[in-house]
């Protein structure tokens, strides 16, 4: 007896809903467009949510940046100021900011291109450091005797500041470019070695037992157990390493010359283009941040399996 009574009431609810959505049209016709509108609304709210999330991460730093620029402008925009104000940077170095990739001569090129040459050096130096660092780290982590012999030497060498290596490497390579690459290499390799060694030492005994029962040979053990198991540690080392190499390349290029971003700063200082220097600093900061994030992202992707356990 309750059922027939319930049905009409349902219909009325639907009808009121539909008429509420679009009071002018008859309920039956409106049903479909109303649902479509609902889906579109859902989509809209999803994009709205995403936009909201982006806004939450982007707007606060932008506001702070604006406030800093404002303070800077007030502090430096007066006669006798030693540093250029933001408005002066914009008026004098506009071409560097807006055209990163212009080529107006062999030494007059955009900052984007200069950064590319610096990045190329970092890529070679850091790449070699990553490969050599992982192998040496694996050796030190795996063999007690290698650790006893090599670890003290590593601990001493790693405290040598990057630039202290430059004269030696200039003497050895007799050329600026390989010297700069060597400085990157020697800067980036220590954190990779040390973190890899810790990662290898922390491989659970269980994995070693599994490898022993399976009779994996050393090469199989290296690629199938050691590297994946130590991957989170290795990536920590790589992340520190890439940051250090980006620090070192600027200093090295200041001394070796060429077309890198470091030499650009030195050159600008020598020709009193302070505004150019400040633009270059911003470039260096942004690129360094991007490098760090790229290595971190690769690390997250690669170690997904290992860290999930």
């Amino acid at each position: 007896m309750a059922l027939p009574a319930a049905q009409p009431s349902n219909v009325t609810v639907l009808a009121t809903k539909a008429s509420a959505a679009s009071p002018a049209a008859p309920a039956a016709v409106v049903a479909l467009p109303a649902r479509k509108g609902g889906a579109a609304g859902l989509l809209k709210s999803k994009t709205m949510k995403r936009l909201n999330a982006i806004a939450l991460t982007v707007i606060p730093p932008l506001l702070v940046l604006l406030a800093m620029m404002l303070v800077w402008e007030i502090a430096c925009n007066k006669p006798g100021a030693t540093l250029p104000a933001p408005s002066k940077i914009w008026s004098e170095s506009k071409d560097l900011i807006t055209h990163p990739f212009f080529v107006a001569g062999p030494q007059d090129i955009g900052l984007g291109l200069r950064v590319m040459t610096s990045l190329q050096r970092v890529a070679i130096g850091f790449g070699l450091a990553a490969v050599a660092g992982v192998f040496l780290g694996a050796l030190v982590g795996q063999s007690v005797w290698a650790m006893r012999g090599l670890d003290p030497i590593f601990q001493v060498l790693r405290t040598v500041p990057p630039l202290a290596w430059l004269p030696i490497s200039l003497a050895a390579f007799r050329d600026a470019n390989p010297s700069a690459i060597f400085v990157i290499f020697i800067t980036a390799i220590w954190p990779v070695i040390i973190n890899t060694a810790v990662g290898i030492r922390n491989i659970p005994q269980d994995y070693r037992n599994v490898a022993q029962v399976l009779r994996l040979n050393p090469i199989e053990f290296f690629f199938k157990v050691m590297i994946p198991s130590a991957a989170p540690y290795i990536f920590t080392g790589l992340r520190i390493g890439i940051g250090l190499s980006w620090l070192a390349i600027v200093a090295a290029e200041m001394l070796t010359g060429g077309v890198g971003i470091g030499f650009f700063i030195w050159d600008a200082w020598n020709s009193s283009r302070l505004t150019d220097i400040i633009v270059a600093l911003a470039y260096i900061g942004v690129i360094g941040f991007a490098l760090d994030r790229i290595v971190a992202f690769v690390g997250v992707v690669v170690t997904r399996g290992t860290s999930a356990s």
């Binding site: 037992n209 599994v210 356990s309």
Partner: protein, 264 residues
């Protein structure tokens, strides 16, 4: 048939920083082919050490482990181990974990297609074929242990060594896996040696139960023979007098004669 696996007057001492501790003393045991042996004893009595010696993961100090009249001094796939905490490699899928073992053991003997079939056969044997593409972190503890068993079985071991395989599992999952192991033992006829803390588990599964005295210098105290015909059913056994007698014998050994002395 005798002297398939022989533990011949085994002593094991560990030396660390000048301190020598005697873990096992004069362990003697002979195990037949196809036998199911449980090793039971209080914590710290050297059960795991004994299993590691048979596996070849550690070396004896005196005496010898003889397998088919050959001395064991290194690990090998003919003595596969199911580890206590499954020890699956977390960055490999279930399938890849078994594949690692199969590729290593059968790289020359089987084609790629045959190896695939063999991996799937073993996963299906432990009812894990459906989860072959899952990562170990995505499956339950019992499922991980199943995969660990599949990996060990996939090596086609002559002896399967189980190191407290169900210790970390809940009672229901544990019972389920015990049935699986009994079923596999009946089907494949492997020799199995299992370490356990659980008296019921030992009596249910074993042909013989090896009871260890307390350490230091632990040794085999008694060996209880469980003369129950297979296949065994846990429900029928509850009221079986031989089952009850065996269970009582083990319990008396563990709690009357060799009570665990708490370290002061």
């Amino acid at each position: 048939m005798s002297d398939y696996l022989k533990l011949d007057h085994i002593d094991k001492t560990f030396t660390r920083g000048g301190l020598t501790s005697e873990v096992l003393k004069d362990v003697r045991l002979t195990i037949d082919k196809g036998e199911f042996i449980s090793i039971i004893g209080h914590s710290g009595c050297g059960k795991s050490t004994l299993l590691n010696l048979i596996a070849g993961l550690t070396q004896v100090t005196n005496g010898a482990v003889l397998f088919e009249n050959r001395e064991v001094n290194a690990p090998g796939p003919e003595r596969a181990v199911v580890f206590q905490n499954h020890s699956l490699l977390p960055w490999l899928s279930v399938y890849e974990n078994v594949k690692l073992a199969v590729d290593k053991v059968f790289s020359g003997a089987k084609t790629k297609a045959e190896r695939h079939d063999w991996i799937m056969h073993n996963l299906n044997l432990v009812q894990m074929g459906h989860a072959k593409d899952k990562k170990p972190s995505e499956i339950s503890g019992g499922m991980k242990q199943r995969v660990g068993i599949a990996r060990a079985l996939a090596m086609e071991p002559k002896i399967l060594l189980l190191d407290e395989p169900f210790g970390a599992l809940d009672a229901l999952t544990r019972a389920h896996l015990q049935d699986s192991v009994m079923d596999i033992h009946a089907r494949l006829g492997n020799t199995m040696i299992m370490i356990t803390h659980d008296v019921d588990e030992a009596v249910l599964l074993s042909d013989r139960i090896v009871m260890m005295t307390n350490g230091p210098a632990a040794t085999i105290g008694e060996v209880e023979e469980v003369k129950l015909e297979r296949p065994r059913n846990r429900l029928d056994l509850v009221s079986d007098l031989r089952y009850i007698a065996s269970r009582e014998a083990v319990l008396r050994f563990l709690y009357e004669r060799h009570r665990h002395v708490e370290a002061a």
